[in-house]
Amino acid sequence: MDWDQFDLNPKTIAALKKADIKSVKEILNLSGADLQRLMKLSSADIQCLLKTISHTLRRNSMLTALQLYQDKDHSTSQHQKLSLGCSVLDNLLKGGIPLVGITELAGESSAGKTQIGLQLCLCVQYPYKYGGLESGAVYICTEDVFPSKRLQQLIDQQHKLRADVPAEIIQKIRFGNSIFVEQAADLDTFQQCITKRLSLLLARGMARLVVIDSIAALFRCEFGPAESALKARYLQTFAAQLHSLSARFRTPIMCINQVTDAVSESEAAQCSCRIVGSRVTPALGITWSNQLLMRLMVSRTSLPGPSPGAASHGAGSMRTLSVVFAPHLPPSFCYYTVQLEGVKGIK
């Protein structure tokens, strides 16, 4: 660390070098008394040092809420969101997925989570004007093989799903080229993927969406009941890494999660999934829920109809997408179906 760049007393700089203090973090981690002892300076000098490095670290970091609202600085704009490709679903989410933070999509199997994930991977590639981010997506598969056939179907039918976008724009986008598929079946591979591959792709601007399908699969088999503390540590570490990537590159992270049965009333109440009407709660517990910005749940709605047991790509049985919690949305839900061209909301 080059201490000369800070506006410090040369005496302090010499003391820092002599005490072999290498980073701002080290200084803030030590107590005032420790710093005095290590650097042999008076407490006034130490206060001055702390103020100076705090100033340098936090220079220009204040915004008023009015500035945030008026969108003056594009890099901190909160109004921009990632569209889901369907106006009904976007209305439910007041624009789409927020760009900074981890959004979770939980639900039973075959409720349509992967379909929504794939649709997002295509939506992110559209221009900003049409709700996209003009960039690719990283899709991390942890259990099943990537559904490339279905992706190809969706690509072929994009013009039908996105009737709002002119055909020449859709034709110009090479959808398949910008979706990076990673396989990570265990924690170590996942760790490698996040720290090396993901940060590289995001830093180069080649991707601006990360879909993890599914986060639960990584944790459910590897940890026994006695290792819950270790599991919590891993969860928190991964979540922190994902958070910092999301904040640095303004990239939404969509984590697909499984559900487990809610054993007691209190558990069911905790995740407030009474909207969905079934006694299931997302997996991974409160440790994971604490890391989320927004939680969405999907489920199949049993409706009396001509073909209740139709295949998910076919006649489209009804499903429910509900907002469980979000800082800017009330708990609400809407219905949708899975068609050939993708996921479409029903008004």
Partner: protein, 406 residues
């Protein structure tokens, strides 16, 4: 020559070498005795043994403020001393001037004696920040109290950030409506501050005040409403985003200075305090020490600047003998940091708030709602115009009447 008495900079620190190297005709003549020369650098007497004193007078510095404005580099060039000595000199001047300024105000270093009666009167005149949920305000004893640290714990999604956003708007309510007319600092570590939601809450608050003003038709209400607009409210919420605990610690070091510059700030929100501290710590004793330090700094800030500090905390599972319970995160020792602890939780589909720790109110639980307007009571408030005023702050009305009688 008399020996220089030392407080701060003593003659001994000035090496003869520097003296000779930077000797100019003025100091050479006064050599030896110039350490006792006292130019009027401050309005009061400068500290004893203020060595560059003569040079300062010769260079034309009249007041301490000029010295401080020049800065160390300029000063060292002007009067020909090394940068190090210039910095030391400035430090001495700064300390002296702050000491002099602080003394009449009963500065933080001095010990003052209070009687319990004085403390009681001070507490009673202390304002509260209302939450618009009268049940919650009642169990808190009027609202979120200034000069105290209030901690809000709860599971994700239960409404902690909503309450913080509500408080950041409510702290700005003008005094004639029962508020404290302050500004708010919002430190966000999780990224959950959505400005669109704050706009909704602020608009509803302004609407509410308009309704009261219409019902009561008083001069000062109309006047206050002129400045109490949506844009005004938003411009007085100062937002800081901290990505990890280092940034949070640095931000809290800078808070006293920020609050001195923005003296109308009456609320500091840190949403959430647990998030940056719950990963990245191999050594939990370091975490405890950092959290304790943070708590102490926040207590000092709350007291010195008459501000309420509100922190949000996560919940974690504590595995007991036969069952597991949810407890606030960050450990047992953190539990002592906050003066007032509020726990938000669910009961089936009803949101409840429990006052878990308070020095003056008893433990109780109430129900609340989060509507599109923000934090509210469960029963809709009575729409009759006699209860409109009392609903806003039941404790403000008696005093206003007393003032009118005087």
């Amino acid at each position: 020559t008399e020996p220089a008495s030392s407080s701060g900079l003593s003659a001994g620190t000035q090496s003869p070498r520097t003296h000779a190297a930077h000797a100019d005709p003025l100091t050479r003549r006064q050599n030896g005795s110039d350490t006792r020369e006292r130019p009027r650098a401050c309005a009061e007497a400068p500290p004893a043994g203020f060595a560059p004193g003569a040079r300062l007078a010769a260079a034309g510095f009249q007041t301490a403020q000029e010295l401080l404005d020049t800065g160390p580099c300029g000063l060292s060039k002007e009067i020909g001393i090394s940068r190090e000595e210039a910095l030391e000199a400035l430090q001495v001047v700064r300390q002296e001037c702050h000491g002099d300024a602080a003394r009449p105000a009963g500065g933080s270093g001095a010990t003052r004696k209070y009687t319990a009666l004085e403390l009681l009167e001070e507490e009673q005149s202390q304002g509260f920040i209302i939450t618009f949920c009268s049940a919650l305000d009642n169990i808190l004893g009027g609202g979120v109290q200034l000069t105290k640290i209030t901690e809000i714990c709860g599971a994700p999604g239960v409404g902690k950030t909503q309450l913080c956003m509500q408080l950041a708007v409510d702290v700005q309510i003008p005094e004639c409506f029962g508020g404290v007319a302050g500004e708010a600092v919002f430190i966000d570590t999780e990224g959950s501050f959505m400005v669109d939601r704050v706009v909704d809450i602020a608009a509803a608050c302004v609407q509410h005040c308009h309704l009261i003003a219409e019902a009561q038709q008083e001069e000062d209400h109309q006047k206050a409403l002129e400045t109490f607009s949506l844009e005004n409210i938003l411009s007085h919420i100062y937002y800081f985003r901290c990505r990890d605990y280092t940034e949070l610690l640095a931000q809290v070091y800078l808070l006293p200075e920020f609050l001195s510059e923005h003296s109308k700030v009456r609320l500091v929100v840190i949403d959430g305090i647990a998030f940056p501290f719950r990963h990245d710590f191999e050594d939990l004793s370091l975490r405890t020490r950092l959290l304790n330090g943070l708590a102490q700094q926040l207590i000092i800030i709350a007291n010195d600047h008459r501000a309420a500090v509100v922190l949000t905390n996560q919940m974690t599972t504590r595995i007991g003998q036969s069952q597991s319970t949810l407890v606030p995160a960050l450990g047992e020792s953190w539990g002592h940091a906050a003066t007032v602890r509020l726990i938000l939780h669910w009961d089936n589909s009803q949101r409840l708030a429990t006052l878990y720790k308070s020095p003056s109110q008893k433990e109780s639980t109430i129900a609340y709602h989060i509507t599109s307007h923000g934090f509210r009571d469960v029963q809709p408030p009575a729409v009759t115009h006699s209860t409109e005023g009392t609903e806003l702050n039941p404790r403000k009305r008696p005093r206003a009447e007393e003032e009118k009688q005087q």
